[in-house]
């Protein structure tokens, strides 16, 4: 592909990342081919006519390569200059979706563009948000130690996330939490991470345990805490109030917040998926949301069908895999959405543990390489942006693979550079190549 002579465009472009990028895209095309393979089709014909997904993906990647070259040719100052503007445009596009939007798979987040292709603004908005956050944090007047800065950044991230939720794109919305990496790196107090982690544990515990049992455990914990630090509390009575406050918040979360979220915020299928992750059944009759807005997105098959078939596909691969094009789960189309969100299963089935291990190794190497790139930036803008990219990639990879192997509830987010889809491939290409362009000018201090 055309990216081989990138050196001519700008000195210092990271060739290792480009190589990894090309390998990943190639693996992606191969995986999509495996999913679609059918011995009765004439493959050379379908490549030319672009009637199959894998051939479309080839055209997408050619297009993306062109975009990548275009980005590498740009001046790196463009990104800082247009960061705020692009964010504003992205939010506008997302709002426009509510008017122009087209319903695909129950998610009204697509804008139809020419040639039968559709654009998903929420997808592109990730890039713009990354640029915007980088711009905001790198501004000299921003002191990212202050709570105020945290709140502004948080709001900037939350806005597209909320819009995504309104478009029934839970997965895309969750991706925005990936910015926590960048924010943490730039000075977000670790307490927030700990609090968030505790909250996650509390939510899972709420799902797993009976409310009364959990309440008793919380009370015992609080009592134990007070008892063990009784001397300190004697000196400072205010601290004991803090413990009580925390106990109260926890109790409130367990009794009211979590049930409220599951019954009123999440839709029935989402609650069911989350409950099924911890091996429990969710009673949909409690769900007020799907009762009011019924018929929006209801799976026909039982909700754990995807995960079950996905685990069968990966598990049946065994150590060495069933062989290229020999996976029966893939050939029989047992895994729904296998070419997009469940693409990892075709790899796991065909090449087994050996294949998945090597594949994960590639991804890990890729992420660590990006972190290395991030750390070598002189400019804060570039570093924040790089960590945003790391966060977004990592979040996609971790959540996507975790959901296919049954470690995470099913949320519809693609596997970066592998899953079928032009929007997704383009987003990751742009994200990555902007980073490479910035990295090429890593000695410059961008504002």
């Amino acid at each position: 592909m055309a990216t081989t002579n990138n050196n001519n465009f700008s000195k210092g472009t990271d060739l290792a990342v480009i190589a990894l990028y090309l390998i990943m895209v190639a693996i992606g095309v191969l995986c999509i081919f495996m999913v679609e393979y059918n011995p009765n089709l004439n493959w050379s014909n379908t490549v030319l006519t672009a009637k199959t997904n894998f051939s479309k993906q080839i055209y997408f990647s050619i297009f993306c390569a062109a975009v990548a070259i275009f980005i590498l040719l740009l001046d790196s100052k463009v990104f800082t200059a247009f960061a705020n503007l692009s964010y504003a445009a992205g939010i506008l596009l997302m709002l426009a979706t509510f008017v122009l939007g087209k319903n695909i798979n129950g998610s009204k987040s697509w804008i139809p563009i020419a040639g039968g292709f559709n654009l998903q603004p929420a997808e592109l908005c990730k890039i713009f948000t990354a640029l915007f956050i980088a711009k905001f944090i790198s501004k000299p007047e921003t002191d990212f130690k202050k709570l105020q800065s945290h709140l502004i950044a948080g709001a900037a991230i939350a806005l597209p996330a909320i819009l995504s939720i309104m478009q029934h794109e839970m997965g895309l919305a969750l991706v925005y939490s990936a910015f926590i990496f960048a924010m943490y790196r730039e000075g977000l107090p670790p307490v927030i991470l700990i609090v968030l982690l505790s909250f996650a544990i509390l939510v899972i515990a709420t799902l797993l345990l009976e409310p009364t049992v959990l309440a008793i455990i919380l009370t015992v914990l609080a009592g134990f805490f007070i008892f063990s630090m009784i001397k300190r509390f004697k000196r400072n009575k205010r601290k004991i109030l803090i413990v009580f406050a925390i106990w109260g918040i926890c109790f409130g979360t367990v009794r009211f917040a979590v049930p409220y979220i599951f019954n009123h915020v999440f839709e029935c299928y989402q609650s069911t998926r989350i409950y099924s992750m911890v091996g429990k059944e969710y009673d949909c009759s409690q769900n007020k949301k799907s009762a009011s807005a019924s018929g929006e997105r209801h799976g026909k098959k039982p909700d754990d069908y995807n995960v079950k078939q996905s685990k069968i596909a990966i598990g049946s691969g065994g150590f060495w895999g069933r062989g290229f094009l020999k996976g029966t789960q893939t050939r029989g189309k047992y895994v729904p959405e296998q070419h997009t969100d469940f693409i990892f299963t075709s790899l796991g089935e065909a090449f087994g543990f050996v294949g998945t291990f090597i594949f994960l190794g590639l991804y890990l190497f890729f992420l660590f390489r990006l972190i290395r790139i991030a750390e070598r930036q002189r400019s804060t803008f570039s570093r924040v942006y790089a960590y945003s990219v790391v966060g977004i990639f990592f979040f996609h990879i971790a959540v996507n693979i975790s959901m296919t192997v049954g470690l995470f509830p099913v949320v519809g987010i693609p596997l970066p550079l592998i899953s079928y889809g032009g929007s997704s491939l383009l987003t990751f290409t742009v994200l990555l190549f902007i980073l490479l362009r910035l990295d090429a000018d890593r000695q410059m201090v961008l504002r």
Binding site: Y184, K311, G315, L360, L364
Partner: protein
């Protein structure tokens, strides 16, 4: 740099998450084997190709059974949309409700996307109508299946039947690869030679997608196996003789067994009541099986190998043979019988009063003198050579067993009965110890009564033994298997070796044969003739606890070069010479001459229509409202006449009989002594000590 250690922390977090994923992959891909199974269950569809079962031929290479194609109407419920139900219901003669009911049944059994049987075993007309209208029935199709067909409507007991295997069968034959829905031989030769007849099933594996649609062969068919057709069996049976035997047994309970003494091959084996084997195939089966199972006359029961009958006087030649070989008597040995046997105290009655009817062995056999053979039996048991009655009895029993009585012969049919030649232990128990009994206690064993029983097959085999003068071949149906392999050879080896080669000298056999020849010339069976052949025979009229005497007849022919040995039993019919004798005569005639004389045909018609069903069985039918069972499920006379090219036998046949034939039959019966009333509830043990035995011949 500021906060740069946080980059490291982020790396650690990423590393932990990846490790978790890899751990999960290890558990999924390396430590759980269930996923491969689950994937195969999902995607691999095994299609079993049933080979044609082997065919069984008679001695003239006529197929006793063959395979025909039957069609099932099958349906994929999901594709059955816009079906012209009115037409379909009209063809199948069902209503709309039934249609819906069956559709639901199919869905419940096989799901909506798989083929399910809507109507099995279509008749020819229905098949034709369905094929014409198939375009109106989307989702429906016709599926072939091979079923058995019996072109001669005969030999149901011998051939047995195939049926769908049940859970029990699957447990028993676990290693043989049967599956639910398979058919296997359940009785008769079909069961005995199942492994030969079934062939080898082929398995084709297909890839099936998530909608149950076939995608193509799995792994290019490299795991597929080819179906290998079952191999054929060649027997020495004769379809025409078999049909004749079955026809002659109509309206009677009994059995006919005909053997080729030279090889031990079975020529014909009939058991009555029987049934037309075609009634247990295809859609007939459901209607028939219930009736067959509930019938008190037990039409499924093969009396030829399972029926235990006291052999009565048919045992006498064997008794004489023992005495001759032991040197106890000479052919000229005579016994002065005046109609009673009194040596054991209580007098035993004998029917013959004329002096000299037992003046020598030949006369005694021909006239079937009871006293003579009671005496001969006592001599054998009390033989001074063996010191006491027990040892004498054991020797006698050894002889009898060597003739093939009282033990399983090992015919190639399942569940043969060994019948009974009693053990000394039984008498020790009866009489309180070995010391307390002597030859007088089981006296009537000498005339084939007491506790002695034999199957018709054993009796026929004993005739083969005498005909061969000292040996027999284990009776069997199958002479050879198509493309015999080592296993088949091993199975058939025992049918190809001589059994019971005794050291009894030929001249003793000659004497017995002369005696048995006498039976047919001037003795009890003088009225039974086989045109063109001299033959040897012995009649028997056996007392039994179930009612009237059993009519028995054993024989072989021709006298000097025996080609056929026959045993006939007609239950509760009376004299051996009256019923069993003529039946055996016709069977021999048919086999030896290949056709019956006109006179014989008349006799056949008469015999075939004589109703000798015991009264208690008829009463049972009436009492249980099953009078329809009075009409036997037997044979298609059309077929019989087609083959024989003779006049069809109508129901009025006996009336149509020519007057002179009737007269002949009349005199034929009058020549015999009149039937004496027999006690109906009397068991064998009682008869042994019953003071006055009513034996006649």
């Amino acid at each position: 740099m500021y906060n740069s250690n946080r980059g490291r922390i982020i790396q650690i977090i990423i590393g932990i998450v990846f490790s978790l994923i890899i751990l999960q992959l290890v558990s999924l891909q390396i430590f759980s084997s269930k996923y491969v199974l689950a994937a195969n269950n999902n995607a691999i569809f095994r299609h079993i190709i049933y080979p044609d079962r082997g065919i069984i031929f008679d001695r003239k290479k006529r197929a006793l059974l063959e395979n025909t194609i039957s069609y099932d109407l099958v349906v994929i419920p999901n594709e059955a949309k816009g079906v012209d139900t009115a037409t379909l219901c009209a063809i199948l003669k069902i209503d709309k409700e039934e249609y819906t009911k069956r559709m639901i049944e199919v869905i419940v059994k096989n799901s909506r996307v798989k083929l399910g049987i809507f109507e099995p075993f279509l008749s020819t007309e229905v098949y034709a109508q369905i094929t014409e209208n198939l375009y109106r029935l989307p989702g429906f199709s016709l599926s072939e299946r091979s079923i058995r067909n019996y072109p001669y409507n005969t030999a149901a007991h011998v051939l047995g039947y195939v049926a769908e295997v049940d859970v029990k069968f699957l447990e028993k034959h676990e290693a043989e690869g049967y599956e639910m829905g398979d058919y296997a031989g359940m009785t008769g030769l079909e069961k005995q030679y199942e492994s030969v007849l079934m062939g080898q099933r082929g398995v084709k594996r297909f890839l099936r997608d998530n909608k149950g649609k076939i995608q193509g062969p799995f792994e290019k068919g490299q795991f597929d196996t080819v179906a290998i057709a079952g191999r054929n069996l060649y027997t020495s049976m004769d379809v025409e003789v078999q049909q004749l035997a079955e026809k002659l047994l109509q309206h009677k309970i009994g059995s006919v067994v005909a053997l080729n003494p030279k090889t031990g091959s079975v020529i014909a084996m009939a058991s009555s009541p029987g049934y037309n084997p075609n009634l247990l195939t295809g859609n007939q089966r459901r209607k028939t099986i219930g009736r067959l199972l509930t019938d008190t006359a037990r039409p499924i029961y093969n009396r030829a190998i399972k029926g235990q009958y006291p052999p009565g006087s048919t045992f006498k030649p064997m008794g004489a043979l023992i005495a001759l070989d032991e040197g106890l008597i000479t052919p000229s040995f005579g016994y002065n019988c005046f109609g009673l046997y009194t040596s054991c105290g209580d007098p035993r009655k004998c029917e013959h009063h004329n002096a000299g009817h037992a003046a020598n062995l030949q006369l005694a056999l021909a006239n079937s003198c009871n006293s003579y053979f009671l005496q001969v039996f006592r001599m054998a048991i009390d033989n001074p050579k063996y010191h006491n009655a027990k040892l004498g009895y054991l020797k006698w029993k050894e002889y009898v067993n060597s003739f093939g009585l009282g033990r399983r012969l090992g015919i190639d049919l399942p569940s043969e009965n060994r019948a009974s030649i009693p053990d000394t232990a039984q008498y020790n128990k009866d009489f309180g110890g070995a010391k307390y009994w002597n030859s007088c206690f089981m006296l009537t064993l000498g005339i084939g009564q007491d506790r002695m029983t034999a199957t018709p097959l054993q009796l026929a085999n004993a005739m083969a033994f005498i005909a061969n003068e000292g040996y027999y071949y284990t009776p069997h149906f199958v002479d050879s298997v198509e493309e015999e392999d080592d296993i088949d050879k091993e199975v058939l080896a025992k049918y190809r070796t001589k059994q019971a080669v005794t050291k009894i000298p030929k001249e003793y056999f000659d004497i017995i044969k002369e005696g048995m020849h006498g039976v047919t010339v001037f003795g009890t069976a003088a009225a039974v003739k086989v045109p063109g052949h001299e033959f040897c025979a012995k009649t028997g009229t056996a007392q039994n606890p179930h009612g009237k005497n059993h009519s028995l007849f054993v024989c072989f022919a021709p006298k000097d070069d025996p080609k056929i040995a026959v045993a006939v039993v007609v239950e509760n019919a009376g004299f051996g010479a009256t019923w069993a004798g003529p039946i055996a005569g016709l069977v021999m005639e048919k086999y030896l001459n290949d056709s019956l004389t006109k006179e014989s045909k008349t006799k056949m018609d008469y015999l075939a229509n004589v109703d000798l069903m015991p009264a208690n069985i008829k009463e049972w039918y009436i009492k249980n409202n099953k009078t329809e069972m009075l009409v036997p499920l037997n044979y298609n006379n059309d077929e019989l006449s087609d083959i024989w090219d003779m006049e069809m036998v109508s129901e009025q046949a006996p009336v149509k009989l020519k007057l002179d034939t009737l007269k002949k039959i009349d005199t034929f019966q009058k020549n015999k002594p009149p039937a004496a009333p027999t006690p109906s509830k009397q068991n064998n043990k009682e008869s042994a000590i019953n003071p006055v035995q009513k034996k006649k011949k």
